[in-house]
Symmetry: D2
Subunit: 383 residues, 4 copies
């Protein structure tokens, strides 16, 4: 907290965007970053208007990300943005992310990372070459109790994992909302801009949550993605059976037509000696069930929270933290990683815990394999 605040710019996230505002709130929450530059829309006029509305100085309120890249690069190093947050629709992730990373800018990129594995490989190569700090905002991994769950599972508290159930169910696309021009529905159901539907938008979060908590690697999968809403051009529901290396099994489901569900991302992991369960909509609680003995309700900041979760927590137990605070933990990690890199030291604490380009690449691969399996009638495919 004592370090000088970093300055950051943003690509996308202008008027009408949902996730852009979340990124800005999260980035500045702990006083560790200042929002100083932006190219906030793919339409130059809207981009400039949005920047003015958000108080950007005229000289760093850019009409396009290309101009932002050029002009920030032209500033003296100490006066450039320290990182860029890219929050455009999915199809507009790769180009700016790759260009900024290639130019040596640290990058925070929304998920799913890119549109296909070829792009993912190229991006991984770019970041490896320039060594920039690169984070993908699988933001649910920022919750303290997700970190605690991962710590418990990975340190053997529940024994070898046997079965994983993960689901991410929403209901907001149960009707053809996109037909009415709702901005979020519009691009998220457009194959050109979104790439994939429910499996890309939310299924990839579920995949990431499993990987984060268990460390298991998918060996094979069998998927049944569906479009329930007539006229929709993209999947809005998918069920996936998983076989992990080492023998564990899993069930991943995602849907945007589960009426009544808001943002129900939930995971249950059963091991030989215990189990954990966590639900995003009530993120301050984590169930831990030993094989012998009663279930225990762990709370964020509570007696069994442990030091890793504690480091990702701002206020005492019983004072609920939510979505913004979890999101902000990604940014805390990024900020620490940037400071550490500059100071030539190992990053501490949360810095090692944000999702990287490799998580992003695996997520893209997952989406591809689910759609492939579906296209083949639900065949089992190697991952």
């Amino acid at each position: 907290m004592t370090a000088t605040p970093l300055s950051f710019g943003m690509v996308g996230g202008g008027q009408g965007a949902f996730i852009g505002a979340v990124h800005r709130t999260a980035a500045i929450m702990d006083g560790q970053a200042r929002f100083v530059a932006g190219a906030l829309s793919s339409t130059p006029r809207k981009s400039l208007a949005s920047g003015r509305e958000l108080g950007l100085p005229d000289d760093r309120n850019y009409p396009t990300w290309q101009e932002m890249l050029a002009r920030e690069s032209a500033r003296p190093p100490h006066d450039r943005i320290d990182f860029v947050s890219i929050v455009t629709p999915n199809h507009a992730h790769f180009e700016p992310a790759n260009a900024f990373a290639a130019a040596g800018f640290n990058v925070v990129l929304d998920k799913p990372m890119v549109m296909n594995s070829a792009q993912a490989s190229q991006l991984a190569a770019t970041t490896a070459k320039t060594g920039v700090v690169f984070a993908v905002t699988y933001n649910y991994t920022g919750y303290p109790l997700v970190k605690r769950a991962a710590e418990l599972v990975r340190t053997g508290a529940i024994g070898p994992v046997r079965k994983v159930f993960v689901e991410y169910h929403q209901g907001w696309l149960a009707t053809r909302l996109e037909a009415g021009g709702q901005k979020q529905a519009d691009w998220r159901t457009d194959p050109k801009r979104a790439g994939a539907g429910a499996i890309g938008d939310i299924g990839s979060h579920a995949e990431n949550l499993v990987a984060t908590i268990t460390g298991l690697e998918i060996e094979q999968l069998c998927a049944d993605a569906t479009t329930f809403v007539p006229g929709r051009a993209i999947d809005d529901d998918a069920s996936v059976l998983l076989r992990f290396k080492g023998g564990a099994r899993g069930v991943l489901t995602c849907s945007q037509v589960c009426v009544g569900e808001e943002n129900n991302l939930s995971i249950r992991v059963y091991g030989e000696n215990g189990a954990i369960a966590w639900r995003q909509e009530n993120p301050n609680e984590l169930w831990l069930s030993p094989r012998e003995g009663s279930k225990r309700l762990l709370t964020r900041g509570g007696p069994e929270a442990g030091p890793i979760a504690a480091a990702a927590t701002r206020i005492p137990p019983g004072h609920p933290e939510g979505f913004f605070e979890a999101f902000a933990n990604i940014y805390r990690g990024v900020a620490e990683a940037i400071h550490a890199k500059r100071e030539g030291r190992a990053p501490a604490g949360l810095a090692t815990q944000f999702p990287t380009v490799h998580d992003g690449a695996r997520g893209v691969r997952f989406i591809e394999r689910v759609l492939d399996s579906t296209a083949r009638g639900g065949a089992w495919l190697a991952f």
Copy 2:
């Protein structure tokens, strides 16, 4: 309730049995039946000892079900048992059930009905021929709010069904309990006596619950049954993807190695216009989510319970009913069906709502198909 109590006998359910005692308690709960005869074990000596312990009169305490069948048949019709409850391990269902039904006795039979579809067909033929009342104790269908859920779904309260999630998770077989001789684990994990493991013991309940509530017919399925506990000779976990006629999809999971889970049978049904959710461990509540508007918590006996659930309820809302009362509703239905048949009238109320030989046959078919799909590496099979 004012009718003369029926008399019944029991096959199986002697010393050490779990489900036999449940059947007896359920059968007599409403004063509608008296337990008067039995062949309570496959071992004649234990059979007689159990009968004495339970207070059966010596002349109707039989060493074998064959003798019970012979001697009850020899009694004057008005003095015979009115029905027989068969609660033996699965492999010993078919013979007595078929023999009693063939001899004109009404039968209550535990699930899964028989060991294979060939037996199921024969049993269906027998009951069709003699016209006996025949119930399979898929007891969870006896819960008032399951009846209410079925009524809501089948009358269109949630619109056409899109997606069904059903799970039946237990943890008691997470270790090799059968190795220590625990009686329940012993036969339930023995392929010869149980036929199938988790998918037969509990997965079939889940299948039945889906069918009861939604009326949907499975068109195709893809299954991944597993044995997690080393040395176990039978499946202890399964995940099944379902495609229903008409386009709905489903996910059915069952497991007996989910540590921390007790008897977690849960179902969620999402339709175009709403959703319902119910959980057996808290059976007095049913969630109803309209597509527009807040979720509502329906309670057993509460303002939206409706007349069908009310008829299956004994006490006011807030006074919890449980497993026994639901089980007893099967017996109430059977009793009413027997009275109605004798009086030459249509059965009223619950009498039409207990699971029949056709439910039993479909359940057996389901188990077979899940194991077939698994044997073929998780292939999609027509149902």
Copy 3:
């Protein structure tokens, strides 16, 4: 379970009664008692009609309890009823209870025991003199996890008790239901027949639950009973502050105008080293919070249920038991106490755990003191 079933008669509980049917179901649930005699209404014609409807033999279907007492007394001892259940409205408790007890019959009596402390003393004297088994159906004490809670608190698992919160909230009398002639509302809001309103009908259950679980004795109380529904002649809501001997404090509230509440009896007990919480509407769960460490969710039949609760349990965890089963535990205790007395041995297990005439007397005293304090404007009174 192996003992010969006892035979019992019933006073009250005829057509239209709620609690009478509950008593009958509970009494016979475990096959330990047979319903053989009754004087089921204060109106002889209705009494006989009810008895016929319930299948009582003509010679033991009595028009009045006085005749029942006389004629059962005249039967040879081995052929009399073994106990009588008295389930009349409150004002009609004392006379039959005292008369049957005086004549040497074992008695099960509904709560609140009698109308005033003078009657309570007399009844206590009678039972002491004849030595009959005498139970008051504070039925909520029959729940296995209430027994477990009592065991935990009394054996020091949470340390010395500091604070107790108990509430019993219902909403069914939020309107003047009695004006429409609803039978239950009619007598329960009639001062002549009920004696007290909410504080008597449900507040006394709350008082008993505190005493059962904690063993604490009330030293002083301050009460504010109210009648919210215009035109009602009796209290329908009360709040009571409690000071216990030894320094613990408590808050007891009861209400029948809490709209939306069904039968919400809940208790939380906080000690120096831990706390427990239990809610009747979900009776298969008990929270145990140690001062250091996470909360644990104990389940009926689960790993921390302990032997006392196990003895009051019929089926495995996850198979919900409810109101009837808890009620039946009172009857199991009574049956065992009767057998033990006859066999000249100490009663075992549950027999020592049903509420006695002393619990009943204390409950009557509690009602009196609450109404006294209210009458004095909410003054603190010694108990």
Copy 4:
């Protein structure tokens, strides 16, 4: 959001403080304020050190609040702080608050507002005279669903209120934590600095929540405050019976010795026609129970959230908001009120919804009356 950010200073909230950091995070969350000045401790050396740590410029990092007041007053009006946040221990509220308000600075002050009603009156007079914007951070009123609850109750959705239950239970002071020098426990249990214990620290939040949601005025109260932990110099638990003008009744309890409780502030309001229930630890849900019909679960941002709650919400339902966001809503209101005042217009939206000096004064009065009643043995006192 488009307005120029306001600048603010802080009194108190330096190293080791809990609530100071919360205020800073909340104040800046929406980009509406910048932290530019401070006198962060009562010890000048610690004050300056804290300011440096938090990045305050040297010329506005003050050793004392008196110097801050003098030097900020000396700056040209457009360059002064726009408001001051005072987050010192309770005994150090009045002097700086009164002084800054008298000098025309807008003030945000932590609760309880001051140490006694005399101070409260004086402060009310001061703010009335200078017309400054003045908010007391009863932060729980900032939750969107508290605003929704207030709207429902005040617009008659549940009819005239009959009974209110409010509780604020924590367990962190169940042992004599202050003996070990824990900073928070130290001053909060010191009568000189805190004034009152549990009733002041958290009971006043409960009082404010009742007033905010119901608008009811307390007519009489009867209180029983207690100190459970040996050696503690201040109350750590209280139970209060309330009689409201118009006939409603209430029960308010607060405790810091309820082991296992974290920050359990909960309220239930029962009216003639419905009821609401809300719990701070799960603040994104609100139960609404109509008298006829099933309970409904309203969610923050959900279909029945209404426009007032929507205006206090940042992200869609299912994306949990928590303590910080609620707290930040107070600051949003203050910022809007300041802008409105300067622009000579009526404040919009949330600006009218933060707690004022009058709420603060009533809260102080409440604490006094509870302690008075307790001192008189629990007597009923007029409010």
